[in-house]
């Protein structure tokens, strides 16, 4: 692979391979910013990868009180899964266990899409007969009596079948400090992009995986080609000047959102330069035969 060099950072001539997913968005409000955020953080916890968590979820952005339906501070969360059924069950469990339970929360649909998922229309049964249905125009809500007042929840929210999961950047640096600095700079820029989330801890994953394993029961295992400790022992992808690799994975409601996030991340890494940050950026793919979405790094460069 011939690298391109931008501001001293080597950009691999490769692409990130991504997959179609089902995605949805909710707006969670609370009595103040802290509790709106708490409900959103709890709801999107343990949602880094569909492999082990059932869904991938994260916070898209904070929403000012004047822009939310109930005039309270809000947080927009995105949830992605591989099938509509998976997404429905994850959404029901997560809103039911994490948002309904969070002090003062309310929950609104935040995606216009032809398909829909049930939210309040399933959780209403918690009201034990005292739940109240409220309609206005084409919007439908459920009011569920709870100990601190009422949980106000939209009956359904939109679901898109055009969501894209698995966009990624592999950030390769000289040492740990510089690589993490580059990854953090990328995440900070990518957090500004709407309709996209980076589901791993703080947006960054250190244990990138490959398909398959020597053990029959495992479907995925460590990405040995990018492990610095195995350089020389396995067929490595690392150059002599790389001592650490971190990955950012992106899920978006649209292909364009994933591309925008990757573009923002790349720009931040390039801007930081190799002396303070990353020396090289690559991307993960499976040869291009598994996923229909290909994000070529050279097309996303600033």
């Amino acid at each position: 692979m011939r690298p391109m060099i931008k501001n001293g950072v080597r950009i691999d001539e490769t692409f990130a391979e991504a997959f179609p997913m089902r995605g949805t968005a909710l707006l969670i409000t609370g009595p103040n910013k802290r509790w709106a955020r708490q409900a959103a953080v709890t709801m999107t916890g343990f949602a880094t990868s569909v492999i082990g968590c059932g869904c991938e979820a994260g916070i898209d952005c904070e929403v000012e009180a004047r822009d939310t339906p109930d005039g309270r501070p809000g947080v927009r969360v995105l949830v992605f899964a591989m099938s509509s059924n998976d997404l429905q069950s994850q959404l029901t469990n997560r809103v039911g266990q994490c948002v309904l339970t969070s002090p003062g929360s309310a929950c609104f649909a935040d995606l216009n899409a032809p398909d829909s998922l049930k939210v309040g229309s399933l959780l209403r049964y918690f009201g034990d007969g005292w739940q109240v249905s409220k309609k206005f125009g084409d919007r439908h809500f459920w009011r569920i009596p709870v100990m601190d007042g009422e949980f106000f929840c939209e009956a359904t929210t939109g679901m898109t079948k055009a969501a894209v999961g698995g966009g990624n950047l592999l950030i390769c640096g000289e040492d740990y400090e510089k690589t993490l600095r580059a990854a953090e700079a990328a995440i900070e820029a990518m957090n500004e992009v709407r309709d996209a989330i980076m589901p791993f801890p703080g947006g960054i994953v250190r244990s990138g995986s490959k398909v398959g394993s020597k053990y029959k029961t495992l479907h995925a295992s460590t990405n040995d080609a990018f492990c610095p400790s195995l350089r020389g022992l396995v067929k490595t992808e690392l150059d002599a000047d790389i001592g650490c690799v971190l990955e950012i994975v992106i899920d978006g409601l649209t292909e364009a959102a994933v591309a925008s996030a990757m573009r923002a991340g790349l720009a931040a890494i390039v801007r930081l330069g190799p002396r303070k940050g990353a020396r090289r950026v690559s991307a993960g793919n499976y040869g291009g035969k598994l996923g229909p979405f290909h994000f070529r790094l050279k097309d996303l460069l600033p």
């Binding site: 005039g71 409220k134 125009g137 601190d148 106000f152």
Partner: protein, 267 residues
């Protein structure tokens, strides 16, 4: 251009104006429209006899001048807009399912009776049984938005099961009698026994009378519901939005029946 029907003189008999709807007049010539019979007695009364016609797209129909004898204006409306500059009689906007009906004047009894969708606005007063079912029907209004800028008569909202009614003036006795579900807001004074035998649904009353003993005090609590509906109602009525944003107290009832309804009043 709007189809305009100007009243020539006071109608000689009660008129049935239900044939004059956008979807029924679509494709009809001015001559055909003038021949439509509006009579409710043996005396003939065609559109041409009663009104001076100015041809135009029937997507919007405007009546210049009104009368207490204008019955069934906009009855069965499904699309487009009908406006009356004047008073109307009974059954205005009855069973309408879509579109917009605006009465710039007073309406008789059964305005918005059993309406299922769309928007009905009456700038003056409405008679008794606003949004109610007619004889033998099980449900009243089942959807849409009904706004009365003036006062409403007795039993407004009888047997309503969905939709929103906003009365900016006063309402008579037995407001929302036998209410099944839906939302009804009154900004003015309310007569005796609001919510009489209501099963479910929400009344929000700015100046409630003493409630019947079958309504129990639930006190005050936090909910996003009033704030969300305040935003929905803001384009229709700033005063209604203000009422929803005020501190509200909930009364549950009518305990004489199901008891899952509620009356919100300022705390």
């Amino acid at each position: 251009m709007t189809l305009v029907l100007t009243l020539k003189t006071a109608p000689p008999q009660r008129l049935d104006l239900s044939p004059l709807l956008p979807h029924l007049l679509n494709g009809k010539s001015a001559k055909e429209i003038a021949a439509i019979d509006l009579a409710t007695t043996r005396e003939k009364a065609s559109v041409g006899d009663i009104f001076k016609l100015r041809a135009g797209s029937p997507e919007e129909i405007r009546f210049e001048g009104g009368s207490e004898r204008f019955d069934a204006v906009g009855e069965g409306l499904t699309q487009g807009r009908v406006a009356v500059a004047g008073d109307v009689g009974v059954n205005a906007g009855r069973k309408m399912a879509g579109g917009e009906l605006a009465i710039f004047g007073n309406a008789g009894p059964y305005a918005g009776s059993a309406m299922a969708g769309g928007k009905l606005e009456i700038t003056g007063n409405a008679g008794d049984f606003l949004g109610a079912p007619r004889e033998g029907e099980i449900h009243g209004m089942s959807g849409g938005l009904l706004v009365v800028r003036g006062n409403a008569g007795r039993r407004a909202g009888d047997r309503v099961r969905r939709g929103t009614i906003l009365i900016e003036g006063d309402a008579g006795d037995w407001l929302a009698s036998r209410f099944i579900a839906g939302t009804l807001v009154v900004l003015g004074r309310v007569g005796a026994s609001p919510g009489y035998l209501m099963r479910r649904g929400t009344l929000v009353l700015a100046k409630p009378p003493e409630l019947d003993s079958t309504f129990v005090d639930c006190g005050t609590f936090a909910s996003s519901f009033p704030a969300v509906f305040a935003r929905f109602l803001l384009p229709e009525s700033r005063a209604a939005a203000r009422l929803f944003r005020s501190h509200l107290r909930r009364f549950g009832g009518d305990m004489a029946v199901l008891g899952k309804g509620e009356i919100f009043v300022p705390a």
